[in-house]
């Protein structure tokens, strides 16, 4: 019991320190990022003003991949080292990652219609990101599908690890196959293919999304730690009740 509680207590103390900073960073980067993204940056030479969708679409897509990687790493840690917080970190990350993936898909669609001439195509990039979204949903569903929470954690952790093959496929889909989606602009060999005036809002918004993730993750981790303690206390109550029943039965019979 002490082992199970000691670590989360230390984590909550650490979270108390980090959380106000994460919140402050989120606001700071969003304000500056939106200022540069909407006011202080030029239109693109080909795409005109729609390029401003990039400043939310690309950070959302990066975070979709980042969250899944973090979730899979947490699941691996939970399966191998049985760290008590790892399952909770994965559980707390999944809904955030799912939201980022949904945002990447929706903003991409709103960008695709005016530029490509279509809301959606089944090319390798778009399809693999849709699969990523379903993996998040599948993880969350499986996580809560069992009466015994530990079994749900284990089953969904395996699913998350299996689904991790999708992450490199998403990243390199634009290089491996012909896709309608354009190749990477920032994280590519030979440096970014984005002009500095557009790279600035993109990086600021990416930092804002990352700070937001950290902020919401800490909030959700606290919730998950509370929920874990609730489960442990309930189980102890049940065990005590069982014990009392057995003692009573022993006395009577």
């Amino acid at each position: 019991m002490i082992h199970r509680f000691a670590n989360p207590t230390r984590f909550v103390r650490l979270a108390d320190v980090i959380q106000p900073w994460a919140a402050g960073m989120t606001f700071l980067f969003f304000v500056t990022g939106l200022y540069f993204g909407l006011f202080a940056s030029p239109a693109d030479y080909q795409q005109g003003e729609t390029v401003r969708i990039m400043y939310i679409h690309v950070p959302a897509a990066w975070m979709a991949l980042f969250c899944y990687t973090a979730m899979a790493a947490a699941c691996g840690t939970a399966l191998i080292w049985k760290h008590p917080l790892a399952d909770l970190a994965a559980r707390a990350t999944a809904p955030i990652g799912a939201c980022f993936t949904l945002l990447a898909l929706v903003t991409g669609s709103l960008w695709g219609q005016p530029m490509w001439g279509t809301w959606w195509v089944w090319d390798a990039r778009l399809t693999s990101v849709l699969i990523l979204f379903f993996l998040y949903l599948g993880y969350m569903a499986l996580n809560n599908a069992f009466d015994d929470a530990e079994r749900g954690f284990k089953a969904s952790a395996i699913l998350a690890l299996v689904g991790f093959v999708n992450v490199p496929i998403i990243k390199f889909s634009v290089d491996w196959w012909n896709t309608l989606h354009q190749p990477a602009s920032v994280l590519k060999a030979g440096g970014p293919a984005i002009h500095a005036s557009m790279l600035t809002p993109l990086i600021l918004m990416a930092l804002a999304f990352k700070a937001y993730y950290l902020w919401v993750l800490l909030i959700r981790m606290r919730g998950e730690i509370n929920a874990m303690k609730v489960r442990a206390l309930r189980m102890r109550q049940v065990q005590q009740a069982d014990m009392a029943d057995k003692v009573a039965a022993g006395k009577v019979g």
Binding site: L38, A43, G48, E49, T50, R52, I53, I56, H57, A60, P95, I96, C99, L102, L103, V106, T107, L110, W111, Q113, P114, Y212, W215, V216, I219, R220, R222, G223, E224, N226, A227, K229, V230, L233, R234, Q237
Partner: protein, 61 residues
């Protein structure tokens, strides 16, 4: 100002994209806060040390 909202004729795509991002991110934050609060209330109600203070006096067990 009107030109800013028009976004070179693409306002109908740019602004909904930003609105959906704001809606989902604020919504997720609110739901996460609510989850934290309800779970901490639940824990307080179960914890023997805080239970006496939190619950009504006529509550048994």
């Amino acid at each position: 100002m009107a030109a800013f909202f028009d976004m070179g004729g693409y306002g109908g795509f740019v602004w909904p994209a930003y609105a959906i991002v704001a809606f989902v991110m604020v919504g997720l934050w609110i739901m996460s806060r609510r989850f934290q609060r309800t779970s901490s209330d639940e824990l307080a109600a179960l914890n023997p040390r805080t239970r006496r203070r939190q619950q009504e006096p006529n509550d048994e067990t």
